[in-house]
Symmetry: C2
Subunit: 183 residues, 2 copies
């Protein structure tokens, strides 16, 4: 055992930031397959039984919905209505984070979770700079080379631009929906 090493449990926990988003098919509050894959991988391969050695930081970035398509059935008559729309969106995000926070608590792993608005790749870069995690874990839809050209991936951008080590967890083939944009 390495209990006498400098990497012992007296050291502050390893802080792992995990980027999470909602399922594009099922919507809020369901996490996307790639978010769940990234979370499960972190638990099974890294944290393992050493719950006290790690702290998980869940970041959910909401993309501002300029068209308001998410609220097609709402009527906007005053600025307050838009306010309430933003509020609803935020509540959805909180319910998404609940999934990850509850699971972490059940396993006795310290965690924090928060929501930001903006372009996911830029916001994640900013948050990494501010929060300084030891490592960033992000899921990836595992696009083929053809789709990659048009869609690009947040994860590829992050590997290049983020200061801390980044782990991209690709989905297994059998978890991928027919259309990889659905997630």
């Amino acid at each position: 055992m390495a209990s006498s090493s400098s990497a012992g449990e007296e050291a502050p926990p390893t802080r792992i930031m995990i980027g999470v988003n909602e399922s594009s098919i099922r919507g809020y509050p369901h996490p996307s397959i790639s978010s769940r894959t990234a979370f499960d991988w972190t638990l099974q391969r890294i944290v393992r039984s050493n719950a006290a050695g790690f702290k998980l930081l869940f970041l959910h970035v909401q993309i501002p919905d300029e068209d308001g398509f998410d609220d097609m059935d709402s009527i906007y008559a005053s600025p307050d209505d838009f306010q309430s729309m933003n509020q609803k969106e935020k509540i959805r995000g909180i319910h998404l984070l609940q999934y990850f926070v509850e699971h972490s608590h059940q396993l006795g792993i310290q965690c924090e979770a928060w929501i930001r608005k903006g372009d996911p790749k830029e916001v994640i870069c900013q948050e990494v700079k501010k929060v300084q995690p030891d490592m960033l874990v992000v899921g990836s839809r595992g696009l083929g080379p053809f789709q990659r050209v048009f869609v690009g991936t947040v994860s590829e951008y992050l590997v290049k631009h983020v200061d801390c080590p980044v782990v991209t967890i690709k989905r297994k083939a059998d978890e991928a929906p027919y259309d990889p944009i659905d997630d």
Copy 2:
């Protein structure tokens, strides 16, 4: 504690492959700064006190030296002389691996180490396919955008082409020699 979870210690250890090479300034058997940084990061941030939960797989790829510059002081009079050159090169590689294996043993972490010849990025891809580690850790010289264009990096190639999650550990600025090619 997560002892009751499915990620408990009864699960097989997480197998982490670490690509290691020799220092380009000091030569064999000294590991490069980026190899040591990748190794130390793995111990401190991932393995921590959980030695039994991990197995480290050290892969050293030797680039075939067609010019024989490493053996400027040797005289080649027969095919056997080249044989002995290859042998010497291999012994140097073994001494490099000794550094990592001895450190792992001192910490009670299971490990394996081996040498392959060829183009590092291609060989690492092949070995990942064969060995199927849970994760690959590689160091990076942390080249600036200018040098990156000309030099390229093994780590960028691996992130794109390797099947398992890849972590690239960049060197801290204060560990970088003046010329980033020196390592």
